[in-house]
């Protein structure tokens, strides 16, 4: 059996808008991946704990509240602290252009804004699992 790609889709922070997260979850499912969706209002600690227990290859974070500069790097830092720095992290949501280089520097490997083709996101997670 070929190894399945497992991805955690998570919503850190306090906004309740998860349409985007669900659309991405569905696209990854249709691409043959196993997607664990953890629901709204997760702390970075919750997300990292879930990622470790589920043994995912990558995490997709969605945040529309504007708190991404605190929450996304927080997840990367915690992963490293738990010895799971090999899990790839990507982010999406309403992210101002000027924040993207800073997020990448903080270890977020890709940032997908509104209008990103789903095929691009699927391809990213495929590569992430290699």
């Amino acid at each position: 059996m070929p190894k399945k790609i497992r991805v955690l889709i998570a919503k850190p922070g306090l906004d309740g808008h998860d349409r985007g997260a669900k659309v991405v979850a569905r696209a990854l499912r249709d691409a043959g991946m196993e997607v664990i969706y953890t629901g709204l209002r997760q702390t970075p600690e919750d997300i990292v704990e879930a990622a470790i227990q589920e043994d995912v290859d990558a995490i997709g974070l969605s945040c529309l509240s504007g708190a991404h500069m605190a929450l996304f790097p927080g997840v990367v830092k915690l992963l490293k602290k738990r010895g799971a720095g090999d899990i790839v992290v990507a982010g999406g949501g309403i992210i101002p252009d000027e924040d993207i280089p800073k997020l990448k520097k903080a270890g977020i490997q890709a940032v997908f804004g509104p209008g990103t083709p789903l095929t691009e996101i699927v391809q990213f997670f495929r590569n992430a699992a290699k």
Binding site: M1, R29, D30, G32, V35, Y37, E45, E49, D55, R82
Partner: protein, 310 residues
């Protein structure tokens, strides 16, 4: 084996990696499971089944908290379906189990069926073994939302909890064979919807005493957190009931028998799968096509000619 040592030392990441190896049928999985096996047998394995949307995940979420407050370490394996078309899956049981957060005494693993029928994945009970060896006192197994016939969990768990909800059919639904015969504990969840008493009475009416145990019917509202301690009591009572007599040993034997047969079936199938089939197999295939022999006789002959083990 390093991974197994880490599991026994309590490393959650190692536990997760080992479960993945089993799921992916990694070549090292058999050996790893073999070295984990002697450390298993302590956990009380509780299966949950019932139709989709009755609140199995939410109930488990509440029960995890309840058993944590009773000092038990809790593992969960939650199964959701794999798409037969794409092989993908969205595993959403964790959404309802978010109360657990980062509690070190809890380990939750979502699992896709990957084509296995019966409401479980092939690797489900191997994952249970890993959690058992990891030191969990109680392990909950949540089946995919099962219909009326997914009963496999009952032959593998010590205690089977069947979850129903009010307003989901009359007394005749309860009379039908299948899922309503396998429960050791029944739950009518969503009492907040009203009509739970009727459902519970219908269920109670169906229960006979079997091996000194009459399955209780608990009424809960996972939403409001009502009836949870009583349900936990019922699960613990059943555990004590099994442990106090010969039943525990008998269930363990039944389970071992089933697992041995299943493993033999898998091994046989693998022995004769495309890569290792060999000449005798292929010549039998030709004979079956040419109607010189029938498939059953050919199978019996091939098995008879297998080299004896040991």
């Amino acid at each position: 084996m390093k991974l197994v040592e880490q599991v026994l030392k309590g490393d959650k990441r190692a536990v997760a990696k080992l479960i993945s190896m089993v799921e992916d049928d990694d070549p090292g999985a058999t050996e790893a499971l073999a070295s984990v096996y002697p450390k298993t047998g302590k956990a009380h394995v509780v299966g949950f089944t019932g139709p989709p949307g009755v609140g199995k995940s939410s109930l488990i979420n509440r029960l995890v908290r309840e058993f944590r407050s009773r000092g038990k370490k809790v593992g969960v394996v939650a199964v959701d379906p794999t798409s037969p078309f794409t092989g993908g899956a969205v595993l959403g049981d964790r959404i309802r189990m978010a109360d657990t957060g980062t509690d070190p005494g809890v380990f939750i693993r979502s699992m896709a069926t990957r084509g296995h029928a019966g409401g479980l994945a092939l690797a489900t009970f191997d994952a249970v073994k890993v959690l058992d060896a990891f030191g969990m006192d109680i392990v909950f197994v949540e089946t995919v939302g099962a219909g009326q016939s997914e009963v496999e969990v009952a032959s593998r768990a010590h205690t089977t909890v069947v979850v129903q909800m009010p307003q989901s059919g009359d007394a005749v639904q309860v009379l039908k064979a299948g899922i309503l015969e396998i429960g050791d504990v029944y739950v009518v969840n969503k009492t907040d919807l009203g009509g739970a008493d009727v459902m519970a009475t219908n269920l109670q009416f169906m229960m006979d005493e079997k091996e000194g145990w009459r399955a209780p019917v608990a009424k809960t509202s996972a939403l409001e957190g009502k009836g949870i301690p009583e349900l936990a009591d019922a699960i613990e009572r059943h555990h004590k009931h099994l442990r106090s007599g010969p039943l525990w040993e008998r269930r363990e034997s039944d389970r071992a028998r089933k697992e041995l047969l299943e493993s033999m079936r898998r091994l046989l199938a693998e022995t004769f799968s495309e890569k290792g089939a060999g000449e005798a197999f292929e010549s039998n295939v030709k004979s079956i096509v040419a109607r010189r022999i029938d498939p059953r006789t050919a199978a019996a002959n091939l098995l008879h000619d297998l080299p004896r083990s040991g």
